[in-house]
């Protein structure tokens, strides 16, 4: 257990280091207004804290920097739930200002999150378990080409162009779509493939000659690609952080950022609520010297997506944690309202 004084010093050191990115010396601390001890005393405390594993030295006579354990303690015990009014306003603006389309809001949120923090934001989702098919439409553009448009009850629109196989006539196509619309309206998107594979196939074969071919086309068009969507904000913000001063680090960062599925997995692996992963607590090598803070947003009890911020371990945890907290709640609320309207 830490004494009051150790706690205070630890907090001051971490706060200072988060701001300056420089090792913190005993003298500098003793000069701060709210510290009443001499530098020698502080040196003793620092030595204790180092022994306990909360602090580190970069070399034998340097000032101290927080260890990962130090950050962990800081996050767990010293981050007070202070809400910055300014930040809160910004978030409210994004969320409320014309909630037209969910993706827009997500995109904008990612943007603003990275803008005000100067870290890189990643938003995953939403995984729309409750989204239902509103309409499926196929529009022929020419004798050989057509575009299929799928609309959900949330206003999400997917579309694919495809070539019409020669064996299929326009009237067959029309018939097919009619049947599909009739049968699939209101079916949750996640259950579409299953539904298609069971009931629909039989039905279709009755009415449409050579159905298999066109069906394959349709299936390929909509159900093959990864439904998970990642939104990024401030991908280059990280360049401004002093810890990214050597190229190799930048390279490895960006090459990781390109592996979207890996990032998606990273963000999926989270419990509800806010989670802070510091340095080696991350399982992916490329970010073992960064911190990742994730928060989930949801609708009812159903998890829908994740908001995350990626920055140096020397992160403004206090601010960021509260920011994510606020944003995830706002998003959840907004989603709730949206769904209630579109039920």
């Amino acid at each position: 257990m830490l004494t009051e004084r150790q706690l205070l010093i630890l907090q001051v050191i971490i706060d200072d280091f988060i701001e300056s990115a420089q090792p913190v010396g005993s003298r500098a601390i003793s000069k701060k207004g709210d510290i009443a001890f001499s530098s020698a005393t502080i040196r003793n405390v620092m030595a204790d804290l180092e022994e306990m594993g909360f602090l580190e030295k970069t070399h034998s006579s340097s000032g101290r920097i927080p260890s990962e354990k130090g950050y962990r303690y800081y996050v767990d015990h010293l981050v007070s739930p202070q809400v910055t009014e300014g930040d809160k306003k910004l978030i409210n603006n994004v969320i409320q200002d014309g909630f037209f389309e969910f993706e827009q809001v997500v995109q904008k949120s990612a943007q603003i999150l990275s803008d005000i923090t100067n870290y890189t934001s990643i938003i995953l989702g939403p995984e729309v378990f409750e989204t239902k098919l509103k309409q499926l439409q196929i529009l022929t553009l020419s004798s050989q080409t057509a575009v299929a448009i799928l609309v959900t009850n949330t206003g999400h629109v997917e579309h694919r162009s495809f070539s019409i196989p020669e064996e299929i006539s326009a009237s067959d196509l029309e018939k097919m779509v009619n049947i599909l619309n009739d049968r699939l309206h209101g079916v949750p998107i996640v259950r579409l493939p299953e539904k298609l594979n069971t009931e629909i196939v039989d039905l279709m074969n009755k009415y449409i000659t050579d159905f298999e071919k066109s069906y394959d086309y349709l299936k390929a068009a909509f159900f093959n690609d990864n439904p998970v969507k990642l939104y990024f904000g401030g991908k280059t913000n990280i360049l401004m952080q002093p810890e990214f001063k050597d190229i190799d680090k930048i390279r490895s960062f960006y090459s990781m950022m390109e592996k979207e599925d890996e990032i998606a997995n990273l963000l999926k692996d989270t419990t509800n609520g806010i989670k802070v992963r510091i340095g080696h607590e991350n399982k992916v090598d490329a970010i073992k010297d960064l911190s990742l803070i994730t928060a989930t947003y949801q609708l009812n009890e159903e998890q829908m997506g994740t908001i995350a911020l990626l920055g140096p371990t020397r992160m403004e945890y206090k601010r960021v944690v509260n920011l994510l907290n606020t944003l995830s709640h706002e998003m959840s609320d907004a989603l709730y309202m949206w769904y209630k309207n579109n039920e």
Copy 2:
């Protein structure tokens, strides 16, 4: 005018430097198989070439590097139209392999272009002067929300969600869409705003009460945002180039890459065919030490878009010029076929 020998030496130096990124010395050249002169002779030639402005030294006793004038000469006189069979195949694959949707092809082209060159590719367009409205549809999701879907004859789909103003009834909305579809079918997209503002307004006012409001919504949804689209490939490739070894350069590069409208202007300002801009030939400061190669692709005589590659001035001009040439032709051909089908 350059002598045969000067030409040869210049070519060898530039080729070597493009490959190695290191100043080229006289000894290294004399050792190459196809050079029959001693290093001393080559030194003399190099001195001449430097005097003429084609070469530079990084310091008084260094090897030579090409000047911008040198590259310019190289591009204008020494780039032979050699087509790499391998590259050509790659391009053909992208273009032909299921030309479903134009945007997909563009996206994929950008990707492959950057992959095989290791530079950053930018594709602008297409500016679809000939694109016509195929269908406009409004789908109500709830009593307050709706999604508008616009489909063109090229299979391009745009959509926007919006709130339905309280004054407007569902039937009015339906009426409006019917009229719009009737009147606007086949109208080129670029002429939509004009058409809307003249004929349609009067017509609508006759049939629909309080038309202005809903019309404003519709207009805002589709015609306010920038119609120019940029596709990037390999934004991070440039990090691998040895000239990007200091952070400030990386920073300025990425901050430029974020100004999409500036880049769009850069790419718009081009005549038909291939254009190489070397270093200071670029008007934008941030890329004054890079080279930008642009090629247009088109349909009939109408310019439609631009493909570009951005890399260090030390670029593989030979390869890249031919690559862009091939790709732009392939894209033009593909576009031509596509339009013919959808006429």
